[in-house]
Assembly symmetry: C2
DNA sequence: CGACGTGTGTAAACCTGTTGACTCACACTG
DNA sequence: CAGTGTGAGTCAACAGGTTTACACACGTCG
């Protein structure tokens, strides 16, 4: 347990990811990265690689390398509409959408249950309020001059 | 802005890291990973590779590979005390300790200022309380059965 | 003593991401 | 119609992690 909030946040995220990875691996046979790719695509589909890369927080090249395998395994489709330059439109297949739906709901339910656990009875966590506060904080950090470091921009 | 707390947390951590990396790079000429390695070592030095790896949340092998360069550049020392098996004790040099001290203070000050920014006047963030809550949450997740995924254990 | 078991660091192969140079398709300009 | 610019995707080289297997320094126990 650290007394530095920034350390605590890192630790918490690592713990959430580890938990999610364990659940996903055990019940759906996919890893956390795999799920995250599909889940974030679900929020913006159909979209091209560049935008998805931005949403994922990785580079175009990283997305470009993962796409063929995901298409081959039937999670997503990649179409090149005529007359759109080299742009490639990515979408979820039924299988991909189903995974995002069911596994996402499962993880969200788990997480909500944790936040409502008796351990927090004495000092309950107000999730919506916390979410709003943290989003404000994100926006504020992004507005800081030194923060010119988002990948791919 | 996502309405899912877990997404927001990921985004926040990414933003904090990007900010820290920009500051560290600009003012101290080191990257965030570099600083993190030294800062976490500072909290447990002197210690051996296995324990440091655990604290960093990476494997022994990863630490083992980084140590030679850090020693060569004068950030840390690696000693093999007689009679302790193959254990190697890692410690910060003066240079390393100074970086952790000054850069750490700088980042912490920046972060504290952000949390006190006017943007939060309407709904202030109580950092110590939040830290406690999140640490409780971490402990709770770790106690969940599915969470058998901490690296190196 | 000698054989094992255990903890610790290291080496090799691999996976995944980044960077920087490139190709390609299109739009604009002369 | 070139010629040039620009945005999108891809390729090659690299960086930093993980895994698996191993070498080594100790204990312990026969």
């Amino acid at each position: 347990m650290s007394d530095r909030l920034s350390f605590t946040l890192h630790e918490l995220v690592a713990e959430i990811d580890a938990y999610a990875d364990a659940v996903l691996q055990a019940e759906y046979g996919v890893g956390y990265n795999h799920f995250q790719f599909l889940a974030i695509l679900a929020g913006v589909e159909p979209t091209d690689m560049t935008r998805l890369a931005f949403c994922l927080g990785v580079t175009k090249a990283a997305v470009s390398k993962r796409v063929p395998a995901l298409v081959a395994d039937g999670w997503i489709t990649a179409d090149s509409p005529a007359g759109s330059g080299r742009s490639i439109l990515l979408s979820l297949t039924e299988k991909g959408a189903a995974l995002v739906q069911t596994a996402g709901a499962r993880l969200e339910r788990d997480f909500a249950e944790m936040l409502a656990a008796p351990a927090f009875a004495a000092d309950p966590i107000d999730a919506p309020r916390l979410n709003t506060q943290l989003n404000t904080l994100i926006a504020f950090i992004q507005s800081q001059p030194a923060s010119a470091a988002a990948p791919q921009e």
